[in-house]
């Protein structure tokens, strides 16, 4: 695929990310879509470690490292400073992990977007505190093993729906994206850049060590999350206008779970349970997007059929 993005690289090779790191794939494509007039604010996260181990930097654009709870606050301050200097060309981006967004950074984020601060807040989501050793976060999905939900005490709580939380703030633009769909990601980044006010991008980024997957299927696994409707691609404008962006090849959730070691303990009954949860969420989303209930029914029955025949269609 050819991306409608900057030919230049804003990320240098030689960084310390693990092989196949989804966060780095996200960051590389994201910065190519943003172009050079960008400042990144990175609260504590994998990316913080990857990008800025003193005295080196991976990025060819300015990066400000921020404390873990303060990503949105620092971004707000930077925006204000740039405004005072009359710099309207530069876009401020907060780039945080799921821990720095869903949990530790949430109050700053909620406050900043309530003020409709003019920045893009990106949550690259690898569904746990990977950098510190795979501890569960409120983004960790139902069914996952982490070092703090070990053995049979796997996480039996749902993943927080951060997108809906942001939509509830009625900010101009909220969208999900996925490293396996770079063209969609680039389009959303450019759209976010063109809108004034608070923009939130939720980018699904796989983590081979944390998800217990071989590095080479990093992108493929992320793609399966979309195909199984576990991580639907959609965007919400002004908190009300929903658009679903992907309605292509469908898979049963089992396909996605089976390739990952963090779900290896799940049984057929668990998959059935999870399939129901996913279909419930997917049906809800489709209703929000104005699709007929019948449409949701068709989707759901075809997914059921796929589970029975264990076949990708």
């Amino acid at each position: 695929m050819r991306l409608d993005a900057d030919e230049r690289e804003f990320m240098c090779s030689g960084h310390a990310a693990c092989p196949g790191c989804g966060a780095v794939i996200a960051l590389r494509i994201f910065t190519k879509a943003m172009g050079e007039n960008t400042i990144l604010v990175i609260p504590a996260s994998c990316t913080g470690v990857i990008v800025g181990v003193y005295p080196q930097s991976v990025m060819r654009i300015p990066v400000v490292h921020a404390p873990m709870p303060a990503g949105a606050s620092v971004a707000s301050g930077l925006r204000a400073a740039l405004d005072m200097r009359g710099d309207t060309d530069t876009t401020v981006v907060a780039w945080a992990g799921d821990g720095g967004t869903f949990d530790i950074g949430f109050q700053a984020l909620s406050g900043a977007v309530e003020r409709n601060e003019d920045f893009i807040y990106v949550c690259y989501d690898n569904e746990a505190y990977m950098n510190t050793g795979i501890q569960r976060s409120s983004s960790t999905p139902y069914g996952a093993w982490t070092t703090t939900t070990p053995g049979q005490d796997w996480k039996r709580l749902r993943k927080k729906n951060i997108v809906e939380a942001l939509v509830a703030h009625r900010i101009p633009y909220v969208a999900t994206a996925n490293i396996a769909f770079p063209e969609d990601l680039v389009r959303k980044v450019k759209k976010a850049k063109s809108i004034k006010g608070s923009k939130f991008l939720h980018i699904f980024a796989s983590c081979p060590p944390g998800w217990r997957i071989p590095s080479e299927i990093s992108v493929k696994t992320a793609r399966m999350a979309v195909q199984a409707n576990i991580f639907p691609l959609y965007e919400v404008e002004d908190g009300v206008r929903y658009t679903i962006n992907y309605k292509g090849k469908q898979r049963p959730v089992q396909d996605y779970f089976e390739v990952q070691g963090r779900f290896s303990h799940l049984t057929a009954e668990d998959f059935e349970q999870i399939q129901k949860m996913v279909e419930e969420d997917w049906g809800l989303l489709q209703r929000k997007a104005g699709y007929q209930a019948a449409d949701a029914c068709i989707q759901s029955s075809s997914a059921q059929r796929a589970i029975k025949t264990n076949k990708v269609f």
Binding site: C12, G22, G52, S57, A180
Partner: protein
């Protein structure tokens, strides 16, 4: 905090990049760009580089696509129409939705090239001293002459009939292969300097003369004589030769076929004879000793024949024929299926003593053909005889080498195999002259496409695509996430009422838009089409592209060997190999 008023606080600022960290040292598997073989290419007897042809066609590079066909096959206009396209039955896309319509695209490219009067300055090897005589201007002889010319040999073709083309000119009706199409292909071969000596039958004395005056002789005079049925009461008048009937029809005659004719046989010739009879206003039935699904004729042709009014009677075998009140009476024995033959078709046995009698006006035999003269057939294995999959080389003192090809040596007798034979014979002869007899086998082996026996002239000439790995790409190796279901192009046809009363070509051309769309469906198995997925997804920004394929490479200083590029390659053009590679 002891920051004095007016002083900036201390901030750690980096001025260095990470490029001094050579993360390539982490790697234990190495991605490598590697072109591989597509099943279609290996399935094509002529070894056409189909994946590349469709890729060029999709990019709108019709001329380059056409030239790529001609590299391996001098008769694309013919093969796009009459070849049984084994490429399509092995196409990996069949497991996804439906195979690529390779034959329709081949025909489109050939017709487009003729329509645009495309010519090309062929890169040919320097002229050699040896002159070659080619006997028989059928598909094998024409291919032999084409490939020999590419290899620098001047050659003369000797043809007994007044025009070149062999079975293509005299055995296939015009509604399947229009004369103009064949003529333009032959003209292109002649443009290479091949001399066409028609009306020049070679008999056994002139053959010896040719062996003295030429450096080698290629014998490719085909199986042009219909085999008799071998039934009681059979005479050349009562049971006519189907091939001869077609030949006379193509000569412009209107051979006798009024009333009701039966055609014995199940191959394309039988179907062609029956359909030609209906076009001349007669009624025809095909009698076949097996069932319809066992017929070697193309399924589509059979279906169209039935639409045109041809009848089909299965499981009957002729046993005797006699004259009866000025007509013919054919005695047929009923057959039945019992078990299965080695080739998967039903094994037939007599159905007790059941017989049928049929009173008809004409009987045509189309049950197979043989060589016209016994000396056409290649000698049995002995000293001085080298056998190959598609040709036989005879070296003996007192005469130039003779190489037998086409139907004379091929197990399967069709156009694509004849082309394969001409190509193989050209390679055998060239290697014999240039490097000696001991090198022939090994040189041919180096040019095999996939598992063989198809050979690649590109590989023989040392072209860039000759360096493909021998790995045949399987469906499971294609990343189908990058492909969407799309319907296969359907070739438009003349309506049944328009076609059954004329010899106009039935299959109509597809549009350029359809051709582009169809070529776009191709997986291009094992071929990099510069889709850039490797570049887009590389987490280490270690895929370097400089505008063209030659310069696309991986920066192993930084590549950590994660393998994402290889998995996300839609076409399996990247592999992960050990560090030693």
């Amino acid at each position: 905090m002891n920051v004095a008023m007016g002083q900036k606080p201390f901030v750690a600022i980096t001025y260095e990049t990470t490029e001094s960290n050579k993360t390539g040292s982490w790697r234990f598997l190495k991605p490598l760009y590697q072109d591989k073989q597509s099943p279609c290419s290996a399935g094509c007897p002529a070894g056409e580089d189909i994946g590349m042809i469709e890729m060029l066609a999709r990019q709108g590079l019709f001329k380059e696509a056409w030239e790529t066909i001609l590299r391996e096959n001098p008769l694309p206009g013919v093969c796009g129409r009459v070849c049984f396209h084994p490429c399509e039955s092995v196409c990996n896309r069949k497991d996804f939705d439906s195979p690529i319509a390779v034959h329709a695209l081949e025909r489109f490219l050939a017709d487009a090239a003729v329509g645009a009067a495309l010519t090309t300055k062929w890169e040919r090897l320097p002229q050699k001293n040896q002159r070659i005589a080619v006997i028989g201007a059928g598909p094998a002889g024409l291919s032999m002459a084409w490939f020999l010319s590419m290899l620098g040999y001047p050659c003369d073709i000797f043809e007994a009939l007044p025009e070149a083309g062999g079975i293509l000119r005299w055995g296939i009706p015009e509604y399947r292969l229009p004369l103009a199409v064949l003529q333009s292909e032959i003209a292109r071969i002649e443009q290479l300097g091949v001399r066409m000596r028609t009306n020049n039958a070679v008999v056994s004395e002139t053959f010896d003369e040719l062996r003295r005056s030429y450096s080698a002789v290629f014998l490719g005079c085909g199986h042009a004589h219909g085999a008799p049925l071998g039934i009681a009461g059979e005479t050349p008048e009562s049971v006519k030769d189907g091939l001869d009937f077609l030949r006379r029809a193509r000569q412009g005659e209107r051979p006798l076929c009024d009333g009701f004719s039966v055609v014995i046989g199940g191959g394309n010739t039988a179907v062609d004879v029956a359909r030609t009879i209906t076009r001349f206003g007669g009624n025809a039935a095909i009698l076949y000793r097996r069932r319809r699904e066992d017929m070697p004729a193309f399924g589509d042709e059979i279906a169209m024949a039935l639409e045109e009014g041809v009848e089909l009677e299965e499981l009957v075998a002729p046993s005797a024929i006699e004259y009866h009140n000025g007509r013919l009476r054919l005695l047929l024995r009923k057959m039945k299926i019992k078990g299965q033959d080695k080739d998967g078709r039903g094994r037939i046995v007599f159905d007790g003593k059941k017989t049928v009698k049929k009173v008809i006006d004409h009987v045509f035999a189309a049950t197979g053909a043989t060589a016209a003269e016994p000396w056409y057939s290649p000698p049995l294995a002995q000293r001085g005889v080298m056998g190959f999959s598609h040709c036989v080389l005879l070296l003996e003192a007192g005469g130039a080498p003779v190489i037998y090809g086409g139907d004379l040596t091929n197990e399967a007798k069709n156009v694509a195999q004849a082309i394969a034979s001409g190509k193989q014979a050209a390679m055998v002869l060239d290697t014999y002259f240039e490097r000696g007899i001991d090198e022939i086998k090994s040189r041919l082996e180096a040019c095999v496409v996939g598992d063989g026996p198809a050979l690649s002239m590109e590989a023989y000439l040392g072209g860039p695509r000759g360096g493909r790995s021998s790995h045949l790409v399987q469906y499971g190796e294609i990343n189908t996430d990058y492909f969407q279901n799309e319907t296969r192009v359907t070739q438009p046809r003349l309506a049944v009422e328009d076609r059954s009363c004329s010899f106009n070509e039935i299959e109509l051309p597809i549009t350029a838009e359809s051709a582009l769309r169809e070529a776009g469906r191709c997986f291009n198995c094992g071929l990099c089409d510069e889709c850039d997925n490797c570049y887009v997804f590389c987490p280490d920004a270690a895929v370097i592209r400089s505008g063209n394929m030659e310069n696309r490479h991986i920066n192993y200083d930084y590549c950590k060997g994660c393998g994402v590029c290889a998995v996300e390659c839609p076409r399996y053009a990247l592999i992960m190999g050990g560090e030693g590679l």
